[in-house]
Symmetry: D2
Subunit: 349 residues, 4 copies
């Protein structure tokens, strides 16, 4: 009954099994092992082209290392003001890039448009030595508002990137959730739409601690191995990172997990939306729900033992609910039922 | 038969079991879970005092983050020229400290003395704005030459640190191996001897990927949580790091694993030392052996499938052998036997 | 007839004379000379208390070095979105602080209020490891809109700083212009109002290239000497920086120069404000004028050889005019006259 | 009578005159002025090819900014252990490069050979992710021991650079002194010998505070303008930096000043070498003398009011003497005479 985040979960049994198997015997360290090679291949298959991929253990590392290959220290990375890289990484992008700037492009529901980006860049003072230099754009898919960029929207943004010679990064901490929601291919959602580098998340969707930085632009990958080592993110027993990704990509586990998480969010969103006094703050397109509820209902749900974050202000109390591969349908339905009962009780008082 | 490093191994069964158990249910993320709290307590017991400890996944992260709390960007960290932080971390200490300098204090067998350190510091230009400012000392125990600093040697170095107001860091990637070799307490080998911060290694000695940065100087720990997050080293599913450390510290697993590794090295070192034409380059005090062998013997061992690193030059061919919790006595003995046979064969030719 | 900036000027004769005199004989380098000592004393007199002051050659260096003493790398500096540190220093604050973040507090006419600051800080996640940590506030006086913070406004902001335990920096690139406009004491405008560190500008107001970073908070000054050297901003022949500041502070030159610049702006602002079709975009309180003019008038003035920057957009064309110690009254009046004539001509067409 | 350094001097009259002239009128700021353009041209003439040159105010800035264009943060710059960048810049190269490492190549008299460099690089682990990556070589000419690299020696070093694909930087804080000592062309001593970037010093040789970073490798210059601004080293009133360089390069002032300084050192070196009990520690090839003297003679000279630095240890007392454009022949000869008298007195006792 914990809807605080998709990182309060454990791990998928298939991934744990893979870890057990990976523990046997001696293998070369630092990634020169067969499991790591296999992950590279599987990613190539999924993305329908050769990619250069680097496993790391956290999403912050994936994002910050990826961005550090895309911008000089005097560069700027354009992102939504609510982007994880802007709000939730304690300045990791600034640390890894040597002090590059994150510049905001705002928009509703956690997304910005190609037009908004273009307008910002037109006024960015490109080439002027007094200003930081636009270098990259980062978008999050699934966004921090639980919404999704479509391939067409990404392609439009990528076109603006090309116009200004910028690189395009996608923070895919919940990439699988976006993918299955769109029912498109991984290629369509990334390089075919113009993405240069992807933070391919697995931790939130069933892994223990594993992400991959996937480069579609080979040149950008050149320095990555050094950057990763230098940042303490090269695992000596790399097989244990890779084994997670290997299992994640096997038998479609990653898509299955994501589909389940999204379905649970669907149930909750549909249920809540029907209740009087409750409104959804953003379209629910993946596995996150942002909803405005009566304060008494929120208090009651927390008192009942449901865990989730308060999101709004005292005046307009809202909450965030996150579902995952581990959310049971019973829990999802129970939450809606309790919200209904609590709402009815409040209304009756 | 892989003696390349103690990181070519898998993980201890007890640690894998702990991971399985830790995977169950929902818990708070980012370290607010009961397993992480338990690790903190266990470390307190082992070190016989309250400590502030932070789990991270790699030794490079542990060292670089620890050092970043001990020196300003214009500071200097004094270490042996063969220290891991100097030679094998691709500049991670420089990255995490914002460009502090590693200054060499040399000495035989991977160790430096308090006197050598004192001499360097006396000429360091402390207070002079033109020079980087001595800020910390880092020693490795077990050293990169497989030797060990005794508590008395460390205390002498710590006294020099106090004289110049420097902090003392210990890189304990193989801390357990040093401890069991000395048969002293963890307290004796660290804070009682004057160590301020310890990189407490577990990965090489049975964990999958887990270390702890242990602070005996509370003030230095203040910024650590922010530094760790900012560097992408704060795990969302922290329980999986902590579970490894928890099992490692349970039922004396860490000391048992280290004792075994040291014993295997003893067998190999004693065996090799007895063979004609073979000399040990450094005293073998823990789980690493550096030996000079005839080139033909080295070639023969590699041809036989034994894995290890060449260490010397073409003129004076030497090798490094590392044993671990996973090394079997049979493998250890077989290596010595083959070396003996190959040597005899060469002598006969 | 160049109103582009106050840095298109040469230098005051008194300052040039001082440089000539300073060139004689041998003196100790790196600031151990009598002129540098004298500047320190004079600043103490002006600020009515002992200060720790460091000459540097550029305003960007002054600001970035000052800020680097006030925030850790994972800190945040709150400033107006149009602050020079945010917009015009190519990321120097980020470079010198190791990647700290500049966070915007917006407000009209280049200023933010204590209330707006408080609201931002209340939502800043102080103490939460996921977010950069509020560390300092920087305000510019004269602001980038040519307006001025009063001592009372600064004191209110400083109170918010104390509430959240933040340091307060003032970018005083045009400090003298603010001071004479307010007709208050240097102490009133700085430490008595709660400012911890001041970038005390001289370059724009008659010096060749000289600023001083003035610390009212001694603790913050501790690391400055090392930071300045490390950044290449410690002059070997320091006397030449100090001689400029010495002359600047002698016989009230700094206030005289600023009074003249402000008076010239007054003439121009009053003159322009009276003309039909021209509006002042911000209150003119020091030596900068932002005005919206008919496009034809702007074009005509540029064609006449007046130099200044266009500031607005194609739809609402505006300009920035900056006066200085070197602006002649004749030039100031001639500009207004030409604007009048051009406006009349346009109206007639 | 101050032989402490060549930065205890004032400035050449011609340079002061140029500053006075440069102060007149309004010109574009930040380097878009005619004097700055003229300096660029003059440097092109001197180096017999187009160059991209950037004025800065200090030697530390010149070196650190230059190196920052030559190495990634995980790179290594090879230099002599006594190099100014290693010993006397408080870690500026580390700051500007984001933490690159300075790696020592030792050799007598402040110089290293191409062979010594090659040997170091052969063992540098190029391409190995665990080690910082060799990126550049920096040599100082005149060296910190007052000796000189010949064009042939530099060419040999440059050949090693090409072998390992490294860039070659020359710290020419005393470039003019080296040049006139060798009686070769500026081209011969730099790009024709394989130098990619030169820190072209003027401050020590008659300027107030002016150096130029001269790029012979255009690609490396690309980022310099942004780096300079970001580091606070872009002067708004650039004409005042450029005017110094302009005068320095006019009528051969730079060579004349250097010839004089070298000649004064010659007089002193020859004089001292003839005295009993005094030995020169390094060949005197430019304007620096390192000499071992009896302790009593050193004490006596200091008591007489001669200023200079002690250089050796208590056991082997030595001193450093630096001559400059401002050293008078009378002072040079007086020093030798006093050393002779003091020596005779000591011998008689």
């Amino acid at each position: 009954m914990n809807f605080s985040s998709d990182n309060v979960t454990g791990a998928s049994p298939q991934i744990l099994d893979a870890l057990m198997r990976a523990a046997e015997g001696s293998v070369s360290s630092y990634g020169a092992d067969p499991i790591t090679a296999r992950v590279q291949e599987k990613l190539g298959e999924i993305f329908e082209r050769p990619v250069t991929a680097f496993p790391v253990a956290t999403g912050t590392a994936a994002n910050a290392l990826a961005l550090s290959t895309l911008t000089p220290a005097w560069g700027a990375v354009y992102c939504h003001p609510n982007a994880h890289i802007e709000e939730d990484e304690c300045g990791a992008p600034e640390f890894f890039t040597g002090g590059a700037k994150l510049v905001h492009v705002d928009g509703p529901h956690g997304k910005f448009t190609a037009e908004a980006l273009d307008a910002r860049l037109a006024a960015a003072g490109i080439g002027n030595v007094h200003h930081v230099q636009a270098a990259a754009v980062s978008l999050t898919n699934v966004t921090e508002a639980g919404t999704i960029y479509t391939p067409a929207e990404i392609a439009a943004i990528a076109e603006v990137c090309r116009k200004y010679k910028l690189k395009l990064h996608m923070d895919g901490a919940r990439f699988a959730n976006a993918l299955v929601a769109l029912n498109c291919s991984a290629a369509d959602l990334t390089w075919k739409a113009g993405v240069d580098v992807l933070s391919f998340g697995a931790t939130k969707n069933g892994a223990m601690a594993a992400e991959a930085v996937v480069f579609f632009d080979e040149a950008a990958a050149d320095s990555f191995a050094f950057r990763r080592k230098r940042a303490g993110h090269l695992f000596s027993k790399m097989r244990f990172l890779s084994a997670q990704l290997d299992a994640y990509l096997t038998d479609d586990l990653w898509r299955k997990n994501a589909r389940h998480a999204n379905a649970m969010a669907r149930i909750m969103a549909d249920g809540l939306a029907r209740l009087p006094g409750i409104t959804l703050d953003h379209p629910v397109q993946a596995n996150e729900i942002f909803a405005t509820l009566p304060a008494a209902t929120i208090d009651g749900l927390l008192a009942d033992g449901f865990a989730f974050y308060r999101w709004g202000s005292a005046e307009t109390p809202s909450i965030r609910l996150v579902t995952s591969f581990a959310t049971s349908e019973a829990d999802a339905r129970r939450f809606v039922e309790r919200a209904r009962d609590l709402g009815a009780k409040t209304a009756a008082e």
